[in-house]
Symmetry: D2
Subunit: 478 residues, 4 copies
């Protein structure tokens, strides 16, 4: 099948899906003033495939076969680098906001392939493969619903007073299963074609009904999407140059007796697979994450450099020191991301980014992002939150006053354009959105540290320490 155009993608969203926004059922996502922006932001994915500038990167060609490059199964380091570059390019076109309608879905599919392949579950492997071909060949957009609402964090799914705190099987039929429960933080759900559902944690015997993975079309009866209005638009594009036109929407994703046919059930009643799925997905997804964070970081360091010039302070020692730190921060994340691909691990012909290196990239990103915010705000100045709005700027009476009084080393129009970019990136809702994502998306910082601890192989360093202490004979394995 051919690749879809962005128009075809948007047309495909006009179906019976059950989406709620600000208390109201949304008749058409595409035509909705807020959700439509998010859908068109996502559609950049399809536009890139049509754009000669990105075609090489965005479209995989293999003989006569042609499909979105997100669906390319990585076979070597180069494939992983290409995937990373594609994600980075998409996010750059998205003005620092990831598109995420194929990235995360393929992360999930590659993870399911690996986990089911390892467990030698032939039926599961076949179902994942069939679903993968379906999505790839129809050029579909996917969301992944992973994080459960969780209820009491100290209890396992089967111990919760309300069993719906984790998505679960409530019935089985000859043709499929019935599921209920809810997921939270599901990105892009209202404007994708398919929703892949994965467990969010390890499970133990007794947790069978909660141990399942499946996929359903967004328009499946009983699937209800309660969209967050966090990035709800404003009337002022002047002060929000990014977020006026770019938006991502998360949902509370409720399953009320949703029917899933067997061919869409990748596994069920498998506590042994749940933890592996959750971890493997996150390993892939963190590589996606560090790839899509790069344009945001580039924008931060670039905005820092530019506003220092616009303010006329770029030669001060402390400013150079801050810019050097910012640049080093960004390039460390970029370098470790590249290295995670170069150090890829091969398993059954597939290549996976190196886990420790990916986690180092992600932790470096996450732990210093708020310092980057502070640094850029420091370079910009108080005008970030005391400056004029768009109606002021557009007023023929007021603009001359602003033009006279707000220049620095650059004239007021250019200086304020950069100031507003930084305000959007760091002080308004979009800035807060990115800041919280830095701490929580793709696993919170504590989860990443645990992943590091698990993945880190201490044998070299322990052996050296024991040798230096004269305790070679006590080295592990001896």
């Amino acid at each position: 099948m051919a690749l879809r155009t962005s128009a075809q993608f948007l047309a495909g969203l006009r179906d019976s899906r059950e989406v709620y926004y600000r208390g109201q059922r949304v008749p058409s996502v595409v035509d909705h003033p807020e959700l439509g922006i998010a859908a068109r932001h996502a559609a950049i994915d399809y536009e890139m495939a049509e754009n000669p500038k990105f075609r090489e990167l965005a479209v995989h060609r293999d003989g006569s076969e042609e499909f979105s490059a997100y669906y390319r199964v990585p076979r070597d380091a180069q494939d992983l680098l290409s995937r990373s570059k594609l994600i980075e390019a998409g996010t750059t076109e998205g003005a620092t906001l990831v598109l995420l309608i194929k990235e995360i879905g393929t992360d999930a599919l590659f993870a399911l392939k690996r986990v089911l392949g390892r467990s030698a579950d032939a039926q599961g492997v076949q179902r994942v493969e069939a679903f993968y071909r379906h999505c790839r060949d129809k050029d579909l957009a996917m969301a992944v619903a992973q994080t459960d609402v969780k209820g009491d964090r100290s209890k396992r799914p089967s111990e919760q007073s309300d069993p719906d705190m984790y998505v679960r099987v409530v019935g089985k039929r000859a043709d499929g299963i019935i599921v209920s429960g809810a997921k939270i933080h599901t990105s892009c759900t209202p404007y994708v074609d398919e929703v892949i559902v994965l467990p969010s944690r390890s499970m133990a015997p007794g947790d069978e009904p909660w141990s399942l993975a499946f996929a359903i079309p967004t328009a499946t009866p009983g699937l209800r999407l309660y969209a967050s209005d966090y990035l709800h638009g404003t009337d002022d594009p002047y002060t929000r140059p990014i977020s006026t036109n770019h938006k991502m929407v998360e949902t509370l994703t409720v399953f009320e007796n949703v029917f899933v046919p067997w061919e869409r059930v990748f596994y069920v009643d498998r506590p042994d697979l749940a933890g592996a799925t959750a971890l493997t997905f996150v390993e892939f997804h963190r590589f996606t994450a560090v790839s899509y964070k790069l344009p945001l970081l580039d924008a931060m360091v670039g905005a820092g450099i530019v506003i220092a010039k616009a303010n006329g302070i770029d030669r001060a020692g402390h400013v150079r020191d801050k810019l050097t730190w910012l640049g080093g921060y960004v390039e460390t994340v970029r370098g470790l991301t590249e290295l995670a691909a170069l150090r890829c691990i091969m398993e059954k012909g597939l290549s996976y980014p190196d886990d420790v290196t990916t986690n180092m990239a992600k932790c470096t990103f996450a732990r210093e992002f708020h310092q980057a915010i502070e640094t850029v705000q420091d370079l910009a100045g108080g005008l970030l939150v005391t400056g004029p709005g768009g109606t002021d700027w557009n007023s023929p009476e007021i603009r001359p006053v602003l033009e006279k009084y707000l220049p620095g080393a650059w004239p007021a129009d250019r200086r304020m354009a950069v100031m507003n970019l930084i305000s959007d990136l760091t002080t308004r809702s979009y800035g807060g959105y990115q800041a919280v994502l830095a701490v929580h998306a793709e696993g919170a910082i504590e989860a990443e540290k645990m992943a590091m601890f698990r993945a880190y192989d201490p044998s070299r360093s322990v052996a050296l320490a024991l040798r230096l202490a004269g305790l070679e004979s006590h080295a592990p394995g001896k």
Copy 2:
């Protein structure tokens, strides 16, 4: 004269003042949907004086004399502590947002008293004293316009291509002077009675026309206030429990041939006084600042503790570690603020908070605030930016879904109330406003570090180092 009521204060704002908001001249600040909120927030100052709970703190009584305690000239450490407590209490009533309609004005007046007193300028002292009595006895609200728009930061006022980059004298008459130019970041200007104008930097010979300090009523002809709409309201108080009802407004403050009578000119043509005024004002004002930051910090640490409980994670080791850090951060700022008062310096019967200690408090606050934001966001979770809005919560169809799926260790209503508080404090516009103020208000971090460097007396440590190195004879002064 008697203290004014809040109604009297608001009534006093109905005059000919020239205020612009979103491109429009504002006919009545008090009746304006946005500026009115800010004015009523400021009016909390007057409400406290009427409230028996705060009367002792907010009203100074001396025999039959009775005036707002902000106007009390501090005579000892206890007076400074009381002033600090009053500012803290006002900001607590303002829900973490400082009131600032008497704090900053008295900071300016005390600084002018000190600077002119030291320079033995009897006429200037007398004019400041007369203006001080005028404001105190009529219980007036004041703004301070200090930061000039500055233009090219590498040049002095007299070197700027446009001489209006710093406010200046453009003419002198028998009855007063004419001033032009503009100030930026002026807080509360649209809803105060008087505007005090101070230089923002040191001046040198040649900068005479820019070396002046004066005060004028807000409704003075030629004074034009262009208000920032940065904290422009939203339609959703559910997700903005603080900022829906509390607001502060900054202006670009333009002087176009404004007449100032001589009795309101504290000095003019005095480059020798400009730097001292700027520094002395900021020294006082930083003590105000660290006092008014405390409720914001208390709210942050309190919200961190409460959301950890609401999420059911308060017993985790890393959570206790983070809360301990947060508590230590807040209490260090509070402790140093208290100590700055206890270590006060007496000069001509007036007490001044210790400069080094105040700067340590301010630097500690400023340097770690973004880490506090990160920490509280970390404890709260992704719901900060993916959760429901007020229309969802108020929908009879949707609320039951939210109540079912969004509880943690606390039920959904209480958990979401805390989540929204944290979102308002850290991820939305109000959070960004406070974050930028942390870095830039009352002097940027670099300015505070320079103030520390200047104020720090190294003689003890240098003498000890020389003695330990056997170089006693090289100690300074020998």
Copy 3:
């Protein structure tokens, strides 16, 4: 009784005490080439009392009564400030190394008074009081043996496979008890008159034999002191200007069937008192600690300032930035120490430094000390570890070469004197000693954080957060 002279103190150390150093029994501590240095360092305490310059600070006079001011029971903030100043002055005379022969002992005695007073143990109170008078009136030097050797850290004393991992009662007689076991890290033991023994942790029922506090003379039979040679001297005072003449010695303190008469047993078989004693002692002792850290910090910042001048780099922006940070670090510790005294808590006529404030001072000190080391090393340069030694400097052939080639902005002799001071303070054994003490002495950083967590009262911040979230009715206590 009269105060003792330093000669009397040293003479008093010539007794049957059983001290081992480098594998050998030490016949006379005072005459030992290494331990004698430590004893004479400690004797500075007695010299100060004889020195008119320090007499006011070091000697308490009350009518005809006269005793060492360390023994003064603090009755108000001023007494605590005086105690802090005395400790600071003693450590300054000790060239950044605390004297500690009365500081820690009185910390222990004040703690025992408080704990036994609270528990209404009249006999215990009387025994402590009697022992206190004995020490005070004879002007004795004391060590405190608290930290047990601990064995398996995951087990309580009664659960250890070897019961001697914590000091314990092994027998009781009509006239006293017999104790065995060992303490570690005991400072100054070889050259004090009395050793006070306290529990190092909380105990539970079953831990009775390990739950005791007592005091014995150093020369008690069965008490064996194995002194660490960590600070063993070198042959080069040129490169160790401090540590050549100043030394503190810790022991492994072994009790082998040591008899303790009942009047020296403050309590025994009291698991309920053990934890309180350990905590209360540490609370007092941390105030001592932050007082005695100040000269070390002053020496660091002073050395940083001086070497920057000697190297000719003191005007560089980054150097000023580092010096400002150093100064702010030191003064924050000093300020919080002072504040801990000013905020003292009164209980039964005694004043105690505020616990939260003391812990903030201690944590601030501990968490940033290694950064201070790095900063001072950064300012000094590589000569710290590549420079000449004393034999080079004293060689008539080589010194001219060094004088020609090693000047900076200061001549070589003065520059190298400061360089060597910094090397002693930060790169050689003495530097390492202070660095480890920063992390571990008076409780490790993690213990201090736990103490902070326990001592911090969150009620104000929690109440504010709940109020701002509209949850006043859920405030604690309602």
Copy 4:
């Protein structure tokens, strides 16, 4: 020519070289009790080439040609990786102390090749090439004398009051030049065959006599080496398991009218080449540095892991957190080092490690090393500085006491072995040596930050920021 054995290397050091140690001329470096240790440490380089385990890595074979692999001119990323691995392996054999007798010399030679190649100085290129062949074919050891003693840091060489503050030409003859002056911090000089001399900074017109590069045998008349005794040995290998047997020595390297024949003068009177040489050398040398830091970092993290086990605290949450941080720190440096090779830049058939990436590795290493020290000390405990020495341990009377009282989760002998390793690494002279090297070697932190600032290419980030701000037309180059 054949590779030399370590015995041949040591034999080669017995010549007329003029070395001073502790005020005395050293008749034979190899036989000297201190310098001999350093020479034998360096000889590990030659032992590795003889050892089958390292032969592949340490010896380059090209047909019949065979030479030390340090001399292999890197032609691709793999050559750089091999070089890095060789340096890492050598330092591991050196027990965390770099060998450095070929690493730094080849760094200098590769840099001279590049700089002279670029400047098309055919004679210079030929002289470097000839000297390179001489060293390679005779398997020589080399030191590099770069850092001048500098005098007044604010002045250029020609402005110094004493012209000898930078090494300079004092005379020219038909057969060569005469040089005088002094270098400092020169590593390994007493026990190498050749000394390469490079400028340490950029020069300007007027600085001609100071703008030169050359090489001479160590035994050249007039070359005087004043060796630092910083790592002077102790009598206790028990507490210094590394530094008793491994040592590196720096010299003050004085040139008194030293004759250099023309074929050994790579250039002279070339201010235009001085800065490029200094920078290019440091670029190479920083790649060497990050390679040789890895065993030190491995030892730190390994010692941290092992002591946590030995103390029985490895399951505590805060301990896992600290170990995770340590591991991430080490692996980030390692990863960026590897990436610097993988991203190598090709120029005229030679490959150079990527400069920005190398600097990121070096800065990451340098900025966090003191935190790593603190962390490992934190995990180890106070015994680092209060524990027994070797004479205690070897005493038949005392060892049983130590064995009884000093176990943790591991018996006392193994626990103390690790404790002593950590003490050597972090608290004693060797620890201080490594700490100062972290801050100053291969350029101080500030120099590295400047190198980062210069090397960082901001064009991508600036272009993105301008585009997001709607200022595409203002991008650089437009």
